[in-house]
Symmetry: C2
Subunit: 335 residues, 2 copies
């Protein structure tokens, strides 16, 4: 996303776009303390699995600079590492920075790698999108979700740049409306034809609008292909299978959790009820209404046609192809 950088390292802070205010206001904030770093992640001002990884990496590198006491630093780093539980990218990036000699350089390397990885994912996936294809997507997986070129949305943008004229149906993605607020906005900026739908309209859109494929991102992927992603993804995968529509997940290797055999062990974050009972301060449900508000769901691997990664298309049997990914050389050492 030219001209819109999700995250920027300044030397004494980490700057970020407050994604809660998009698309109406483009507000850049700076985090310079552990409270500010943790809070930016917890409140979803910074969101998107790769993006919170990069933000966490810079955050921990910054904390190392400002906290000379090792125990205080370690405690602060753990707070950042645990700010959200589901996306594995955050713990992966924090652990990588913690193990490095030069933490700032390592965070910058992770950020630079993300741009290369996103470009490879986009390249690997773009050929799956035919000319004038109708694509359906969920949540936000664009440049602001990765601080690079995006995953699922990066694939769509690459197809558009290759002249394929995709049309995109965008799930609004309740409760926090990342589709309506962020994905529609990013598609707009990229000049791509888009139509917004409510999440419940995805199945009828597949039935009546000749959707050719679904592409989504991921927050954590187990070795059998079970994929945690924004709540609503599982519903979409079931509907895609019902209509015989290919269902792709675009994600970097850092989103795969090679320690997990299946999705049963992925921790699912439950968020406050008021995300469901109100919007933007406007209460909708009756006072005191209870809600079940899991931020993510787990789509079983057998509902996923293939994964689009920086190493190319990963197909089933996933129990073989996913662990194989772990053995591949680091992209930066190839490049």
């Amino acid at each position: 996303m030219e001209g819109l950088e999700a995250i920027r390292w300044t030397g004494d802070s980490v700057e970020y776009i407050d994604q809660r205010l998009l698309p109406h206001d483009e507000v850049i904030r700076r985090a310079a303390t552990v409270d500010e770093i943790e809070s930016a992640i917890k409140t979803l001002a910074v969101r998107g699995a790769p993006c919170i990884g990069i933000f966490g990496a810079y955050g921990v590198a910054l904390l190392r600079r400002i906290l000379s006491d090792d125990d205080a630093f370690r405690a602060a780093a753990i707070r950042v590492r645990n700010a959200r539980p589901t996306a594995v990218n955050l713990t992966w990036a924090v652990d990588r920075v913690m193990a490095a000699q030069d933490m700032v350089a390592e965070a910058q390397a992770i950020h630079a790698e993300q741009r290369v990885i996103d470009a490879r994912i986009a390249e690997a996936g773009a050929h799956l999108i035919g000319r004038d294809a109708s694509v359906l997507t969920h949540c936000n997986t664009g440049p602001i979700a990765t601080a690079g070129g995006g995953t699922a949305l990066g694939v769509i943008i690459a197809a558009a740049r290759a002249g394929k004229r995709p049309h995109v149906f965008v799930d609004e993605t309740r409760p926090l409306l990342q589709g309506a607020r962020l994905t529609y906005y990013e598609l707009n900026r990229a000049g791509i034809d888009a139509t917004l739908i409510v999440d419940g309209a995805a199945a009828v859109t597949m039935q009546r609008k000749a959707v050719d494929l679904v592409i989504v991102g991921a927050d954590r992927i187990a070795c059998n292909g079970d994929t945690a992603n924004k709540v609503g993804t599982y519903s979409l995968a079931i509907a895609a299978a019902h209509h015989g529509i290919p269902f792709y997940v675009a994600a970097p290797r850092s989103t795969f959790d090679f320690t997990l055999r299946s999705g049963a062990d992925i921790p699912i974050e439950e968020r406050p009820a008021d995300e469901v009972t109100a919007y933007d301060g406007t209460r909708v449900a009756p006072e005191g209404a209870r809600a079940f508000n899991p931020a993510f769901d787990v789509t079983p691997g057998h509902l996923i046609t293939a994964f689009i990664t920086e190493y190319g298309i990963v197909r089933s049997p996933y129990v073989e192809s996913i662990p194989d990914l772990q053995l591949r050389p680091n992209l930066m050492s190839i490049a």
Copy 2:
């Protein structure tokens, strides 16, 4: 719903609760002209398939009183009849009133019948709900949706009154949030345990919360069981089938359209984009965003376990059991 009447005939107007303002404000309005009657239906101030049928019936009876010119009356009645296209109850009720000698008496008969019919539906369906059952529902099908006891929600309320302690997961039902605003409110009033979810969370709720059955209402049902209902119903039916969870549709005979062989011929109302691009009046998507906003979708009959009607449970093969319904005697002549 004791103490809360959705519609009331006053002799020189039709009073109604403005359902757009619930649950925060219980505002009673009166419609006394064709503009007011048509607008109450079009803007969804009055909604719910049986409820708009009854409102339209009283409305046309009122118009007959105030318009002495036959052509003017007929033109006005047609405007009411066509105010919304999908629910067959509206045309059915208007046609019935138009054919009657005493139009007011006929509208009152339709209203009185609805109460009897809803009670029968509730009775027929309540035994499908086990003790401590977990039930998932969509949109609003309670007393304010029928101006009687409700259809799907009437079944749940009847089960609760029989001491079965159901727990209800309520889809918020975007775009207009009838689940969050109306169903949660009605369950609250009835003292029934309820949990709100976003529509996209229905599949993960089925997967993780041991949902025993799904019950929804309907706006129009074809002879093969294909059912038009609030957008999102089709998605829910696919997810229920995927999880092996029974999926019931509760509806009176007046919702069956015996002239239609399949759902392919049901007209689906598309509503303004701003219902999707804004959330309860707050703009969400970028200025000028486009949306596909079908108010309904059509669930194929083969995904529906059974219909709960005032004549009992209607099971497949629907091409036989549904046309049979048309031959049954009027409930009021039995009663």
